[in-house]
């Protein structure tokens, strides 16, 4: 009897948490399909007009393209740097692995607003405000810890003697890296890259500090909410949620498959 009660309470708790976590989506999703002029919940009529308005408005499309460019550059930088850092941490003496991992993942524990402030001061001094490259670099720093953590986990799964096997069978150090060490890591690296892309694509605070004339998508959403308050924001958000969850799903599948094939 008591067991039954406990498990029922756990079920209630579980569903309460699920609703809590996806609550924003439950609001945004119906609103995006509404036919009302103003953001209003629940919607009283339904249409696709706000999706249309998003795709037809050059301001929204430009903001999306800027975010996309910044995210791609940031993804390339953070994935390369993060993967190399993870390899270095793995190759370092054991007593250094802890401090190095901590150092490489530090941006996770620093609030974005401080990073934003620091980068902002740097940008003003070097005259690089409103510069997409500067923003991409800042985003890369914020995304790199995730890359380090994801690829480190995959590197630890790999049998360390595989690279040695490649060497003794006739491959030089670079070749051993390319043919033995790197290929098993590729699924994890792709997963990390997708993750890094969205860290940048969704980021608002640093962009808000750095950018002036040109707007990223999160900046546009933020500005729109304050000025306009029409359901285009909800349509954009819904699209973002769908694209992000699809990509994360792909990333997670890749990561799991990698873990499975690498398992000894």
């Amino acid at each position: 009897m008591r067991v039954m009660q406990t498990s029922r309470m756990l079920a209630v708790y579980f569903w309460a948490m699920v609703v809590y976590l996806i609550f924003p989506i439950l609001i945004v999703l119906p609103v995006s399909f509404s036919d009302n002029e103003l953001l209003r919940f629940p919607p009283t009529a339904f249409s696709l007009r706000w999706y249309q308005s998003y795709f037809n408005d050059p301001v929204w499309v430009d903001a999306t393209l800027i975010s996309f460019r910044v995210a791609v550059v940031s993804m390339v930088i953070s994935t390369t740097a993060g993967t190399l850092a993870a390899l270095a941490i793995n190759a370092a003496p054991k007593r250094l692995a802890g401090p190095l991992t901590y150092g490489a993942t530090l941006p996770i524990v620093i609030p974005h607003i401080f990073i934003a402030l620091g980068v902002f001061i740097l940008a003003i001094r070097s005259g690089l405000t409103d510069n997409e490259m500067m923003l991409a670099l800042a985003h890369a720093a914020v995304a790199m810890p995730f890359v380090v953590l994801i690829t480190s986990a995959a590197i630890r799964q790999i049998d360390p003697t595989i690279a040695r096997a490649a060497r003794v069978l006739g491959a030089g150090p670079l070749r051993a890296f390319r043919v033995a060490t790197l290929p098993p890591l590729i699924p994890a690296i792709v997963a990390a890259a997708i993750f890094a892309f969205f860290v940048s694509f969704d980021e608002l605070i640093i962009a808000q500090f750095l950018m002036k004339g040109s707007e990223t998508l999160p900046m546009r959403i933020w500005a729109d909410l304050r000025l306009d308050f029409n359901p285009t924001v909800a349509a954009v958000s819904t699209l973002l949620i769908v694209v992000t969850s699809l990509a994360m799903g792909v990333a997670e599948t890749l990561r799991r498959r990698a873990a499975r094939t690498l398992a000894p």
């Binding site: 049998d159 003697t161 595989i162 096997a165 003794v168 069978l169 006739g170 030089g172 094939t261 690498l262």
Partner: protein
């Protein structure tokens, strides 16, 4: 590729203050199956990694054939290697794993295909070429690793505890296979293990290692029958060790057995102990042939093991003793507490250094 011998000449490897290999000298004949046997930390893996080129040396010289390899990186040494963890490339098929060293040596097309198929046939995996490593059992993976290590016909094959990850039954089966491969290929094999049974089964010669040095290097049979030190006698198999003292005149006195014996060789008893294997000690009774050394003992424990029985006993001199009896001809099982007359032949007793 011709088979090559291996020479370690005064090789020392230090890690800071730790000496992993200490003035190591060893010559391995071309085509010989040599096993490095020892506990962990004895230097056996260090010696193997030095041969492979993964570990540098502090002093000395290492030669494969006539050529010093000290300056060569692993990829230029042309040795095959099998690892305990198989170390197959997880993203490559079995075929591509085996083809890997051949491709690096510029092999292409039909010749590559033939060689890979030949190597896979040797390890009985001809139909597994398209599989991925994670679809194979441990034994199959180790066979692929073996095929990959020998497909380019290296003059020297290194094996680092290759059977350590397999279960007992598979291990015994793989031992026989490795023996067969060695006969087929004829290459020089350096085999590292801490399993003495494996060492005795496989090797032409065994180098028993301790603290970065060779305690004894000999054929498997001589290592077992003629250990040179107390350490080797105890590390390989079981043995009984009896203190010996210089008795009257030239003779040796064994207090534990309460007997005297003539010296076994020209040397004195000082610094030495007598080693007698449990299966060399037998009961002396009516009708049984006499032995050269005879003493009284009392059984304290009986361990029944099917085809043989192992007895723990105490001699009249108070020394514990183990002896073993095969149950060939309906030998009567002794009970704890039974008093027995035991003996062994001097030819079966080996004086060993107290090291």
């Amino acid at each position: 590729m011709a088979v090559a011998g291996i020479t370690f000449e005064n090789v020392t490897k230090r890690y800071g203050a730790v000496v992993a290999l200490d003035q190591f000298n060893l010559t391995v004949a071309p085509g010989e199956f040599m096993t490095f046997l020892g506990p962990s930390g004895s230097g056996k893996t260090t010696a193997l990694n030095i041969l492979a080129g993964f570990t540098g040396i502090t002093e000395g010289d290492v030669r494969i054939g006539e050529k010093s390899v000290v300056q060569l990186p692993p990829e230029q040494r042309n040795v095959g290697m099998v690892f305990q963890s198989y170390s197959l490339f997880p993203h490559l098929t079995v075929f591509e794993n085996v083809a890997f060293p051949l491709r690096l040596r510029g092999e292409r097309g039909a010749s590559l295909e033939t060689k890979v198929r030949g190597a896979l046939a040797m390890v009985h995996l001809e139909d597994f070429g398209k599989r991925m490593p994670n679809e194979l059992s441990g034994g199959q993976r180790q066979r692929v690793a073996f095929a990959r290590a020998v497909v380019f016909e290296p003059p020297v094959l290194l094996m680092d505890e290759p059977l350590g990850a397999l279960d007992l039954k598979l291990r015994e089966q793989m031992q026989l296979e490795i023996k067969r491969y060695h006969q087929q290929l004829g290459c020089t094999i350096i085999f590292v293990t801490h399993d003495q049974g494996e060492a005795l089964t496989l090797s032409d010669r065994v180098a028993v290692m301790r603290d970065g040095k060779i305690a004894q290097v000999d054929t498997a049979q001589d290592i077992y029958d003629r250990p040179s030190t107390r350490y080797v006698a105890e590390f390989i198999g079981r043995t009984n060790l009896f203190e010996i003292e210089q008795g009257q005149g030239n003779g040796w006195s064994i207090a534990a057995l309460g007997t005297q014996m003539a010296p076994l060789d020209g040397h004195g008893a000082a610094g030495r102990t007598l080693s007698v294997r449990p299966e060399k000690i037998r009961q002396i009774g009516q009708g049984d042939p006499d032995a050269s050394i005879v003493f009284d003992a009392r059984v304290t424990d009986v361990v029944f093991q099917g085809d043989h029985v192992q007895y723990q006993a105490v001699t009249s001199g108070g020394a514990p003793l183990t002896f073993q009896e095969h149950r060939g001809h309906g030998a009567r099982l002794q009970q704890a507490g039974d008093a027995l007359r035991l003996g062994f032949d001097v030819a079966d007793a080996v004086p060993v250094q107290n090291q």
